[in-house]
Amino acid sequence: MLSIFKSIPTHMDYKGQKLAEQIFQGIILISAVIGFVYGLIIEQFGWTVYIVLGGFAISCVLTLPPWPMYRQNPLAWQPALPETSGEPSQKPQESLKKKKHK
C-alpha cells in the first residue's frame, strides 16, 4: 500500500519549490488583506476567516500537486558512467581478506 503512494511522483525541482512557496505566500497574504478589509467594512470577523480559508484552499490546489510548471528546471545530472570491471572485483577480495583474518 505504501509503495503505491511512494511510486506517485511528487517532487519539484529547486526553482519549482521556490515558485510554489512564493505562490502560496502571495495568495494567502492577498486573501488575508482582502478578508481583513472586507470584515472590517461589514463588521463580521467570520468572513475574514472564511476568506483566508478560501485562499488556503486555492493555494493548496495550486501548490500541493507537482504541476508541470514546477518541473521546468530539472537538475542536469552527469550522464551515467558505464560500470568499470575493476571495482566489483576488488570488493569481494576485501571481504575475503577479512574472512581470512578471522
Partner: protein, 176 residues
C-alpha cells in the same frame, strides 16, 4: 518543500500565522473603542416586604421601562453582550452594596435597539439586614460585559442611571 506533505505542512503553518496576525489586528482595531451608550431607565413601582422565612425585607420593583440602543457597541469583535441592571446603595453595615436585579444576553445579529417595557426584576433584591426600608438613595445602573472574539473582556457601565428612594413602610397586602 519537495514532497506533498512538507508543502502541506508549510502551507498550513503559514496560514495559521496569518490568521493569528489577523486576529491580533481585529483586536487592535477595536481595543480602544468607547463602548458606553446612553441608557434611559425608569422605575415604576417599588414594593417592600418583610418576609418571614428569610431574614430580611424583600423588594420587587417593577422596572418601568428601559430603552437603549446597543448597536454602536457591536462591531466585528463582539460576539455577545451580557447586560445587567444592578442596584447600588449604602447601609449602616456596608458602605457599598451591589445587587444584580435583572440581566439579559444580547447575541450578535439580534435586535440591538432594545425598548423593554414593564420588565419585572428577575432576581430577588435582598439586603442582608434591614437596610432597604427608608433608604433614600438606591441607584440603578445598567452595565454590560462585552464578550469579544479576541482580546480583553471590558466591563462597561452605561451612562445614565436613576436614583430613587425606597418607601418607609412594608407592604402588607398580599399580591401573589
Amino acid at each position: 518543500m519537495n514532497t506533498v506533505l512538507s508543502r502541506a505542512n508549510s502551507l498550513f503553518a503559514f496560514s495559521l500565522s496569518v490568521m493569528a496576525a489577523l486576529t491580533f489586528g481585529c483586536f487592535i482595531t477595536t481595543a480602544f473603542k468607547d463602548r458606553r451608550v446612553p441608557v434611559d431607565i425608569h422605575v415604576a413601582k417599588v414594593m417592600l416586604k418583610n418576609v418571614d422565612d428569610f431574614t430580611g425585607p424583600r423588594e420587587r420593583s417593577d422596572l418601568g421601562f428601559i430603552t437603549f440602543d446597543l448597536s454602536p457597541i457591536f462591531d466585528w469583535n463582539v460576539k455577545q453582550l451580557f447586560l445587567y441592571l444592578s442596584a447600588e446603595y449604602a447601609t449602616k453595615s456596608n458602605a457599598l452594596n451591589q445587587v444584580v436585579l435583572w440581566d439579559k444576553i444580547v447575541l450578535r445579529g439580534e435586535n440591538t435597539k432594545l425598548n423593554l417595557r414593564d420588565m419585572k426584576s428577575k432576581y430577588f433584591f435582598f439586603d442582608d439586614g434591614n437596610g432597604l426600608r427608608a433608604n433614600k438613595n438606591i441607584t440603578m445602573t445598567l452595565s454590560w460585559n462585552v464578550v469579544p472574539n479576541a482580546g480583553i473582556l471590558p466591563l462597561v457601565a452605561g451612562s445614565g442611571h436613576v436614583s430613587l428612594p425606597f418607601p418607609d413602610t412594608y407592604e402588607t397586602t398580599k399580591s401573589y
